[in-house]
Assembly symmetry: C2
Homo-oligomer: 421 residues x 2
C-alpha cells in the first residue's frame, strides 16, 4: 500500500468507527473509559518498556534534557493519564443536549441537538500523555480519533492507544475497534495525505508550537481548530484601581510565564502612566521581569529601560519579558490589541463600567476579562473539567475547548405526515 | 498594484470595517438597512442601466436564456431586494445573546455571548439580487462582506453595493465605508489570492453549483462553510403508514424537484416493499417521475423500470428522476444514507418511535426528519426569517443559515481584581 492508500484506509476506518459511536450509551462509554484507566495502570510496565525505547531513540537523536523529560513516562505520569480518563468518565455526556427547540406554525416540531463532530485528527508534540487525554475526550464526545504525536514518541503512543482499544473491546459495550488509532508511521508526508481526506476526516486539532500549527494549517484541506500563539495584553485604564491593577499585571506576567495565557504586553493609559508605570516597573522588576518599552514609557521609566522594537508587539515571549506601551486611551488600546494581539485573552483593569463594556465588546478575542488576570483562560478555570486545547478561531469552538466544544449539532424535525403546500 | 496587493488591500479594508461594526447599535444598523432599501427603490434606474450593460455582455458571451433570465433585474426583482433588506431590519439582532453564564468558585463571572464572525467573503453565481441579500444579512450580524458574483453580473453587483454603501454613509449612523465591498475585478486568480488572507478574512461562504463550491473549497486557506449538493433520502420503514408515506414521497420528490432539499433516493424496507413500491411507483409516475431501481425494486416493479447504476446513489438529479432501493431494514437504510447521502436532509417515515429515534440519532446529516417532507429544510420554514444558505459542514453552522448562524461567540469574564494563586 502506498502512503496515500494507507492514510486513506486509516481515515476510512476512523469514519466508520465514528458512525458506530453514536450508538453507545453514556454508561457504556464511561465503562470503557474506566476500563481503559485500569488497563493503563495495570500495564504500566508495558508502557514503560515502549517508552524506554523512545527515550533511547530520543537520546540518539540528541534531544535536549527538557525534551527528554517531556517524553518520559514515569509511574506518576502514567497514573496521571489513568486518573484523567476517570475524570472524563465522571463528566456529563455532552451529546444529545437540546440547544434549541421550536414548534413552527406548519406543525413541524424542531429540535437542535448536540452531536459528535465525527473523525478527528489530533496532532501534537512530544508529551505522550496527550494520547490518552485527547483520545479520552474525543471518545466521550462520540468522536473517533487519529492520533499523531512526535516521531520520538511513537512507541509510547502506540502502547497507550493499544491498551485503550483492548480495554474497550474487552468490555461488554460495543466499542468500535477503530475509534482510537495512532498514525503508524513517522513519515512527514503522512500528515498532508491524511488531512486531504475531506470526505472522511471532519476536523484536525493541532497542539504545540506555532511552527507545527502553521505547518498543519497550511497543508490541511479539512477544517482546523487551533491557536497559533498567545499574545495576551493587559490594558490599565485611566480609572483603574492601582493596587488591583498591579496585582493583575504581576499575576498575568509572572504566575507562569511559559504558557499561552501569560501577559506579553502591558498597555497603560497616558493619564495615569507617570505614576502607575513607576510602580508597575518596580513590581515587575522585583519578579525578575525585563521590560521593553515604547518611547512614551521610556520617558517615564528612564533610558535604562530597554526600548521596544516593532517586533516586540507581535512577540510571544513565553518568558519573564514584557512589552510596555503608553496609549492615548481606550480606543488606542483596543486598536493595539486588535492589531497586535493574538485573539487569545485580553484584559482591561478599570472601575469605569462603560469603558469595560466597550473594551469587552470591541476587542476581538476569544476571551476578554474585566478586572481579572489573563491566567484564568483555561478549561479547568472555566468549569469545563478538562481541556483539549484553546481556540482563537471563530468558526466552531472559540476559547478553551472541553467536551462541549468537541461537538457539532444537527436539527431533528418531527411531523405527523407533514408536506409543503 | 498587483492582483495580490489589490486583494490584500480589499481584505485589510474589510477587516478594519469589521472592527468598527460592533460599535453600531441595533437601531443604527436597522436605519442603515432601511435607507439602503429606499436607495435601491429610488435608484432602480441606475441599477437597471448597469444591469443592461451586463445583459448585453451576457448576450455577447452566448449565455443561455435561462442564465440571462437569472441575470436580469426587473422592477419586481429590484423591489424584492429592497423588501428583503427591510425584512432583515425587522429581524432581531443576533449579537450579544447570552449563550451561557456561569459563576466559578474563584468568583469569576463568565458569560458566553454571540459576536460577529468578522470579514466574510461571499462567492456566488449569476443572480445579482444575492448581492443585497447577503450583504444585508452579514451587515445585520455585524460582519463586513466582500462580494464576488458571476463575472457577467459585475456592473449590476457594483451598482447595488455602491447604492447600499452610499445610503449607509448618508445616515447619521457611523456606517463603515468598507463594510460592503465588491471584488472589482473578474479575474479568476482574485479568488485564491483573497482566500489566502488568513489573518484578514474569517470565513468564505460559496453559493452555487457543486463545481463552483469545490473550486472554492479547494483553493481556500480560510474556513469555508458550504454544501456541495443535496442528495436527500427518504426511508420508508416497515411500520410506516402507507398513505402518509406516499404523500411525503411525492411531496419530497415533486414539489420543487430542482432544489437541494428535494428527495433523490427512496429507500423501502423489504417487508413492505412488494405492496408499497407498487403504489409509490404509480404515484410518482403520475407526476412524471422516472424511477431508477435496484434489483430488489425491479423484482417488484418489473423490468420496465430502469435499472439503477452504482452512480445513481451518488447523483443529485435536480430533476423528475428518483433512485429506488429495497433495503433489509433500518440499519441498512442508515448505512446507505451515511455512505451515499450528502449530509443535507434525510427522512424516516414510520409509526415506530424507537426506529425513528435510532434513525435520527445515527443518520449523520444536518437535518433528519421523522414523518415530514424533505422540503422543510429551509431558513424560512425553520423560522430564521432569511437564509444565506445551507451548510452540510460540521464545524460552525450546520443546516439552514440565518442571522444567528452568521455569528461566532466570545467569553467575557468579570472579576474584582481576581488573580490565580
Amino acid at each position: 500500500m502506498s502512503l496515500k492508500e494507507e492514510m486513506m484506509e486509516l481515515a476510512r476506518q476512523s469514519k466508520q468507527a465514528s458512525r458506530l459511536l453514536p450508538r453507545m450509551s453514556t454508561d457504556d462509554k464511561n465503562a470503557c473509559l474506566n476500563a481503559m484507566a485500569d488497563a493503563i495502570v495495570e500495564n504500566a510496565a508495558v508502557i514503560k518498556e515502549a517508552n524506554a525505547k523512545d527515550m533511547e531513540t530520543g537520546r540518539g537523536m540528541g534531544l535536549s534534557d527538557a525534551m527528554l523529560d517531556r517524553l518520559l513516562l514515569s509511574d506518576e505520569r502514567i497514573n496521571g493519564m489513568a486518573n484523567g480518563l476517570c475524570e472524563v468518565a465522571d463528566l456529563p455526556d455532552p451529546l444529545g443536549e437540546i440547544l434549541d427547540e421550536r414548534k413552527r406554525p406548519t406543525g413541524l416540531m424542531l429540535r437542535k441537538v448536540s452531536t459528535p463532530i465525527g473523525a478527528i485528527v489530533i496532532i501534537y508534540e512530544s508529551r505522550p500523555n496527550v494520547t490518552a487525554d485527547a483520545a479520552g475526550l474525543c471518545f466521550k464526545s462520540g468522536n473517533s480519533t487519529i492520533l499523531r504525536g512526535g516521531k520520538e514518541a511513537l512507541n509510547s503512543n502506540q502502547a497507550i492507544a493499544c491498551l485503550m482499544v483492548e480495554a474497550g473491546l474487552n468490555t461488554s459495550a460495543d466499542f468500535p475497534e477503530h475509534a482510537i488509532q495512532v498514525v503508524p508511521t513517522t513519515e512527514r508526508a503522512a500528515i498532508p495525505e491524511l488531512l486531504s481526506q475531506i470526505d472522511l476526516i471532519d476536523l484536525c486539532i493541532p497542539r504545540g508550537g506555532e511552527g507545527l500549527i502553521r505547518a498543519v494549517a497550511e497543508c490541511s484541506r479539512v477544517p482546523v481548530i487551533k491557536h497559533y500563539k498567545g499574545i495576551c495584553c493587559v490594558y490599565i485604564d485611566g480609572k483603574a484601581d492601582f493596587d488591583m491593577a498591579l496585582e493583575i499585571v504581576v499575576n498575568s506576567k509572572t504566575h507562569r510565564p511559559g504558557v499561552c495565557n501569560a501577559m506579553e504586553t502591558l498597555l497603560v493609559d497616558e493619564s495615569i502612566a507617570p505614576e502607575f508605570l513607576q510602580r508597575a516597573a518596580r513590581a515587575l522588576s522585583n519578579k525578575g521581569v525585563e521590560l521593553r518599552a515604547d518611547e512614551g514609557a521610556r520617558t517615564i521609566l528612564g533610558d535604562n529601560c530597554k526600548p521596544a522594537t516593532a517586533e516586540d508587539w507581535d512577540t510571544e515571549y513565553l518568558d519573564l519579558i514584557c512589552a510596555v506601551r503608553v496609549v492615548g486611551g481606550l480606543e488606542e488600546a483596543i486598536e493595539h490589541i486588535n492589531e497586535h494581539g493574538s485573539g487569545h485573552t485580553d484584559v482591561i483593569v478599570t472601575d469605569d463600567e462603560a469603558a469595560a463594556a466597550r473594551f469587552q465588546n470591541e476587542v476581538d478575542s476569544s476571551t476578554v476579562f474585566w478586572n481579572a488576570s489573563t491566567r484564568f483562560t483555561d478549561g479547568g478555570q472555566f468549569g469545563m473539567g478538562a481541556e483539549i486545547g484553546i481556540s482563537t478561531d471563530k468558526i466552531g469552538a472559540r476559547g478553551p475547548m472541553g467536551l462541549a466544544e468537541l461537538t457539532s449539532y444537527k436539527w431533528l424535525g418531527m411531523g405527523d405526515g407533514l408536506i409543503r403546500e
